[in-house]
Symmetry: C2
Subunit: 170 residues, 2 copies
């Protein structure tokens, strides 16, 4: 539609064809991203279950806590889990029961609690993370180092655009 | 581990470093695929809901039936939905009630039924598909035609490898 009002576009018909071809190509990009993402995620969930008797939401919580050595509060953890569809309270409760994380009071705020990994939790997560990286390395084995850098850059551009579109929505 | 037993690898240490760098790069590729895929999927689910009062599993069922003009049986539809986590029986029932698909008997097999889109269903899905393609075109707007072709090829290679790995598992 906006094409018609672009004076610089000399050949409207070929312009529309090109637009439509690009649109179809982007659709194919999306369908392939979706396929690859679902296949890899299913494989990772299955391997976490079989080899470590754990789940992706548990993995995601521990990954976030591994990075945040000082711990995170429940709302920060919810942000992490919004993405993997887990129930934070339930997952945190079970990780505490398993001795992998602890609830600790926040200094200077008697009502606030944060959770953080125990020593056992850090060791356990290191093993999970090692397995996880090895699996991804195997699953993406067809991607060489140069291709990987290109993909990282391109997907980074796509992600930033999506973040911007989301920010505009709000 | 297998590196150590590869005689052609002259410099074991740099070999391990390179292996580890490639592994980290593949991990970053995966994390970006996951992020992009979740952002786009969430956006598409939201737009299908707001603009067409429909869901991704309904869209996926209609998309499969749009391509298969002769119709599909329930087990073929389950294959489609295994991917988008829908309940085939429930979704088919509601699409029938909405007059978008019909159940028809299979010629020569009195017990078998297939479902296929009605004329209303085909028209409705054309509109959905147009909206869906426009949204993807917008969301992936940072990808030009050349980049799209590269991405399609690379993601295609990754997908084929994943299909092969899955086939080997079985």
């Amino acid at each position: 539609m906006s094409l018609a009002s672009t004076p610089s576009r000399k050949n409207l018909t070929s312009g529309l064809d090109a637009g439509s071809a690009a649109s179809k190509a982007r659709l194919r990009v999306w369908l392939r991203i979706l396929k690859v993402s679902r296949l890899i995620e299913r494989e990772l969930r299955e391997r976490l279950r079989v080899e470590f008797d754990t789940t992706l939401p548990r993995f995601d919580v521990m990954a976030a806590l591994y990075r945040a050595e000082k711990g995170l509060n429940m709302s920060e953890l919810s942000g992490v889990l919004r993405v993997s569809n887990g129930n934070v309270t339930g997952i945190v409760g079970r990780l505490v029961a398993d001795g992998l994380i602890v609830r600790v009071p926040v200094e200077g705020d008697r009502r606030a609690m944060i959770v953080r990994l125990t020593a056992k939790g850090r060791t356990h997560f290191s093993e999970l993370a090692k397995g996880h990286e090895d699996w991804v390395n195997e699953l993406l084995g067809s991607v060489d180092a140069t291709e990987a850098e290109t993909l990282i850059a391109q997907l980074g551009d796509i992600g930033r655009r999506l973040d911007q579109l989301k920010a505009v929505d709000k």
